[in-house]
């Protein structure tokens, strides 16, 4: 890895001591501020803290155009507990959900703050006719936009390239959707849990070939929150802190036509940074449970490869063998992922981080994986197949 020298010397170890989620639903009645408050309140309750104990607030939310409120970070800060505190909002596209706890982490790791409330929110139901319109203008305005592509078209082409490069069949990919929607049955926050078969996926409506209806996550509203504290505080608050041991994030070029679409190099860079910090040398052996970003079923496989948990093109084989099942060797998306729980962009990434936190704490309830777990990884992805964020946690 040339040119990547993350600074791994930090001031304080950082622990997660509380988390909270709203239900993920197609349309939530409450306002975005109220959704943020609900998640934040639950996270404080789990941590045994009050808002007055919190030094600073980090908010994560994707484009303002989803909720339809400009300067959404400032708007949300009210419900996120940010009033009269140090507040910042992070935004790295779809990768925001994992960037939010990473930003929370550096507030504490640097020694600047001792207790941070991290809140991610997305309300995608207000936009008409469809929130996909928000993505109409992420393209090069002169050389790409005139064709009027939407994101699903481009990901369909990425999926197709991935299938061709490694000779992967639609039915191999469909298994991800089957697994994740089934896992979501045990997740009380899930929007679209379902017991489905590979056949159901293959027979579902074709949206943009090879992407069919059951290959893709839904449009969702939801919020998530987490409380991070320094080591000194963590021991006072809980007997079972979960430590953030590695973080990584990178952005590849917007020149996606010039990149290898069959392999998420943007993620490998971020993963290497996080693994180096966490001292992980053999990810496929050292990671016990993983939440890779799965807005599409092929994307979970893609990301398992970018995370170097599977070799290039081999994730489908391991999936078929049951390695990624909840009771498998490396359970993947035990929460149900975006395919089963829902995809309120920033909140979805934080939900994945929270899933790993609950797994490592042993409080994931019916979602708890069978094997004992020590090291977990959550990951998110966004922009033009560009941005990735990775967080490594240990108990």
């Amino acid at each position: 890895m040339s040119g990547m020298k993350p600074n791994i010397y930090f001031n304080k170890r950082v622990a997660v001591v509380g988390a909270g989620l709203t239900l993920f639903r197609r349309r939530i009645w409450e306002t975005p501020q109220e959704m943020s408050w609900e998640a934040a309140r639950k996270a404080l309750d789990e941590a045994g803290l009050e808002l007055k104990d919190i030094d600073c607030v980090v908010i994560g939310s994707a484009p303002d155009a989803f909720d339809g409120i400009h300067m959404k970070g400032e708007y949300l800060s009210h419900g996120a507990g940010g009033i009269r505190k140090m507040v910042s909002r992070v935004f790295v596209g779809g990768a925001t959900g994992v960037m939010t706890p990473i930003a929370g982490w550096y507030h504490v790791a640097s020694g600047l703050c001792s207790k941070v409330l991290v809140v991610a929110e997305e309300k995608m139901s207000p936009g008409r006719p469809h929130p996909q319109a928000v993505f109409k203008y992420i393209w090069d305005p002169i050389t790409e936009k005139p064709l009027n592509p939407n994101l699903i078209w481009i990901f369909a082409m990425e999926m197709h390239r991935y299938m061709k490069a490694y000779n992967i069949k639609k039915e191999d990919i469909a298994l991800v959707s089957v697994k994740n929607k089934n896992n979501a049955i045990d997740n009380p926050y899930a929007q679209i849990p379902a017991k489905i078969t590979v056949e159901d996926v293959l027979k579902s409506e074709v949206l943009v070939w090879p992407v069919q209806l059951l290959d893709i996550s839904p449009v969702s509203d939801g919020a998530a929150a987490m409380v991070l504290v320094g080591e000194d505080q963590a021991r006072q608050l809980t007997d079972t802190p979960v430590w953030i041991e590695g973080v990584g994030w990178t952005l590849d070029s917007t020149g996606w036509p010039g990149r290898d679409l069959a392999y998420p190099r943007y993620l490998e860079h971020a993963a290497r940074m996080a693994y180096k910090m966490a001292g992980i040398e053999r990810p496929y052996k050292e990671i016990d449970v993983v939440e890779p970003y799965d807005p599409f079923d092929y994307k979970e496989l893609h990301h398992l490869e970018g995370l170097m948990i599977a070799k290039r093109g081999e994730a489908p084989k391991l999936l078929k063998e049951g390695v990624f099942d909840r009771n498998g060797d490396i359970p993947s998306s035990p929460s149900g992922g975006l395919l089963g729980v829902g995809n309120p962009i920033a909140a979805a990434g934080l939900m994945k981080t929270i899933s790993i936190y609950w797994q490592l704490k042993g409080t994931a309830g019916k979602m708890q994986v069978k094997k004992p777990v020590h090291t977990g990884v959550a990951q998110a992805w966004g922009d033009l197949m560009q941005a990735s964020t990775v967080i490594v946690m240990r108990n």
């Binding site: 109220e34 339809g68 203008y137």
Partner: protein
């Protein structure tokens, strides 16, 4: 470089488009809806924090100070409504001069945290009591 030095709008390579989502539908949530229904009944309703006792107008689900849920039943605000501040608008958003200058103000209520934007009839003055002539968003008030 300034593109005017290179060519005119018609001679340069450009692409015209409209970036907006076609429309938005915003929901008020359960508390917001009760508040709006209150306006329809010609009532100003507020939400009270069970801990600090603050009453919020417009009503909302949580107290920003105590960070807990406000009481389920909204309370009717009976305190005096007054002009906290106001301004007078002479032109519309396109720069056209208005035939009649428009007074808009922030109306507060005694004993309440928050306030509502309103059109003001009459001769406004900061601190002056107002009478609500039309309950709605925005509110319409008349100087007493």
């Amino acid at each position: 470089m300034a593109w005017e030095k290179r060519g005119t709008e018609g001679s340069l390579v450009t692409w015209y488009d409209n970036m907006e989502v076609e429309a938005y539908v915003y929901t008020a949530g359960p508390v917001g809806e009760a508040f709006i229904k209150g306006l329809n009944d010609k009532k100003i309703l507020g939400s009270r924090c069970p801990k600090c006792g603050r009453v919020y107008v417009p009503a909302r689900m949580y107290c920003e100070y105590c960070f807990i849920k406000t009481e389920d039943t909204l309370v009717e605000v009976k305190g005096r409504a007054y002009i906290y501040t106001y301004t007078t608008v002479y032109k519309d958003h396109y720069g056209n001069t208005l035939q009649t200058p428009l007074h808009i103000g922030l109306i507060k209520f005694e004993g309440v945290t928050g306030g509502l934007l309103a059109y003001i009839d009459g001769k406004p003055e900061i601190g002056k009591e107002v009478e609500i002539v039309s309950y709605g968003i925005p509110l319409k008030v008349k100087v007493k």
